[in-house]
């Protein structure tokens, strides 16, 4: 199907842009043919700074539905993950810092980085019209509970929670970067790799590196001394994987 569509794209575009019946423009209500009315419009900047994009809307061949699907669920899961990370850190900080004041700068640094990631994914979702996960309020509550719970269990438990979450998240981002690099290779071969995908890959790599940095901080701060270490980390990692799977679909 796709090759047929591509070769007759001009026909489809013409059919799309020129409906064969009068269209009433709300701003100037009179019945005139749509095509004529186009010329008298004041052109302006569409929302979300997409001026350049509107002037030159997508010149490369379309991404396949499975590629768009992948990008859609990838960005949705990433946003959900960063939401959880931000909430875990903000819930962990008060109990932890009360008993161990020297951890305040570290917690602040990790929180700031996660908040930055969250902002990035929020803007990507809004820009590319990806819907957020329906489980947003559930993850909100669960992440707050997880952060608070592990913090009252103690410093080592809080660090073990961070270690578990960051291990899963690091692996998850790594997988996404791998898939996107494969695409980038193929598209580059055809000369179709644009800034959009390149920028996305760059951002994901940087974010993955920062998440792994948090993992290192957690291990340096005695996460392995948590009791019960195996149970805690396996439950949290299992929970993360389940949450990732659910957010991809829902």
């Amino acid at each position: 199907m796709p090759p047929v569509l591509l070769s007759t794209r001009p026909l489809a575009r013409a059919a799309r842009c020129h409906p064969h019946y009068p269209v009433l423009d709300f701003l100037a209500p009179r019945t005139i043919p749509h095509a004529l009315h186009q010329k008298s419009r004041i052109h302006s900047t569409p929302p979300l700074d997409a001026l350049a994009n509107a002037a030159n809307p997508g010149t490369k061949p379309p991404l396949t539905p499975s590629q768009r699907d992948f990008l859609d669920s990838a960005l949705r899961v990433n946003q959900a993950g960063e939401l959880a990370a931000v909430l875990i850190y903000s819930a962990q900080t008060p109990p932890l810092v009360r008993s161990h004041p020297h951890l305040r700068p570290l917690m602040q640094h990790m929180y700031d980085q996660e908040a930055g990631h969250f902002r990035i994914f929020n803007s990507l979702l809004a820009k590319h019209r990806v819907r957020p996960t329906l489980m947003y309020p559930v993850w909100h509550a669960a992440a707050t509970a997880l952060g608070w719970g592990t913090a009252v269990m103690g410093r080592e438990a809080a660090m073990a929670c961070t270690e578990a979450v960051e291990t899963e998240i690091g692996g998850h981002y790594n997988e996404q970067v791998r898939v996107l690099l494969e695409w980038a290779d193929k598209l580059d071969g055809r000369g179709e790799l644009g800034d959009e995908l390149r920028a996305l890959i760059g951002e994901l790599r940087r974010i993955r590196d920062e998440e792994l940095e948090h993992l290192d901080h957690a291990v340096m701060n005695d996460s392995k001394d948590a009791r019960p270490y195996e149970l805690l980390t396996n439950v949290i990692r299992g929970g993360c994987r389940t949450a990732i799977w659910i957010s991809e679909k829902v």
Binding site: F26, T45, P57, K60, P62, L63, D69, D72, V130, N234
Partner: protein, 257 residues
């Protein structure tokens, strides 16, 4: 591997194997690229037939006659309407999709620079403008629209019709400049879908000059949602504040939470 990890892996494998997503859902959730073009909404032959058929709808309604005349105008045989397995619903769907895609070009808002120091148009006002624009796009076929609503209400066509309504609500919020990506993404689109469909039905029996009563109806519905949303927002803020204050007071008393 420790038992909990093995269990997690096994469960994950089961989930992956039985991963089922209805086609409808898949078509809805798609990433919008700015560098890569969007595929055209209809295959070329169907687009040609449907675009000609639409021009016959004011005279013949959303019927097979309109489709056959459209096929003839486009240079196809009458029997080519068999290309459209859903018959007249495909015609209704074509109208819905094309009018939704036309919104981007038919409504333009002035930029910051063009507006100067005048009052900035709020997102609510933009949503109102876009919704009215889409409603007015029904005017050429409004006397046939009850027929279209009946076609859309059939059990096999209701799910795709709802999907189109949801896409329209998404389009309107996006063009109005909404950038929220939390739970309000869903509540905004749900409320706008309800308002739009109620106003559309009202418009089919509106006989006032230039559909003034439809505009008033829309304004009343938008006002209702604004008030209700405002109340819920205030309630949420209050609950949030009270909860945080309670926890902080207990912490200041020395309770280790």
């Amino acid at each position: 591997m420790a038992p909990p990890a093995q269990l997690a892996n096994c469960v994950r494998g089961t989930f992956r194997a039985s991963s089922f997503r209805p086609t409808l859902w898949r078509q809805r959730c798609l990433y919008h690229s700015y560098e890569y073009s969007q595929p055209p909404p209809f295959p070329p032959a169907e687009a040609a037939i449907l675009s000609s058929a639409i021009s016959h709808v004011p005279a013949f309604g959303f019927t097979l006659d309109a489709l056959k005349l459209g096929a003839r105008d486009a240079g196809y045989l009458d029997v080519s309407t068999n290309l459209l397995p859903r018959g007249v619903f495909d015609l209704v769907n074509y109208h819905l999709v094309m009018q939704r895609l036309a919104l981007k070009d038919s409504v333009q808002f002035p930029t910051e620079a063009e507006q100067g120091t005048g009052k900035k148009i709020g997102i609510g006002a933009k949503v109102r403008t876009l919704t009215l624009a889409r409603l007015r796009a029904n005017e050429p076929v409004i006397h046939r629209w009850q027929e279209a609503l009946a076609i859309m209400a059939q059990p096999s066509y209701a799910p795709p019709s709802f999907a189109e309504l949801a896409k329209l609500a998404d389009e309107i919020w996006f063009l109005a400049g909404d950038t929220s990506v939390d739970t309000s993404w869903y509540t905004k689109r749900a409320s706008l879908s309800a308002i739009y469909s109620a106003t559309e039905v009202f418009m089919t029996q509106d006989t006032s000059k230039n559909f003034a009563e439809t505009e008033q109806f829309l304004d009343a519905r938008l006002e209702d949602v604004r008030k209700f949303g405002g109340f819920l927002g205030a309630l949420g803020e209050w609950a949030d504040f009270t909860g945080h204050s309670a926890v902080n007071v207990l912490r200041s008393k020395g309770l280790r939470i």
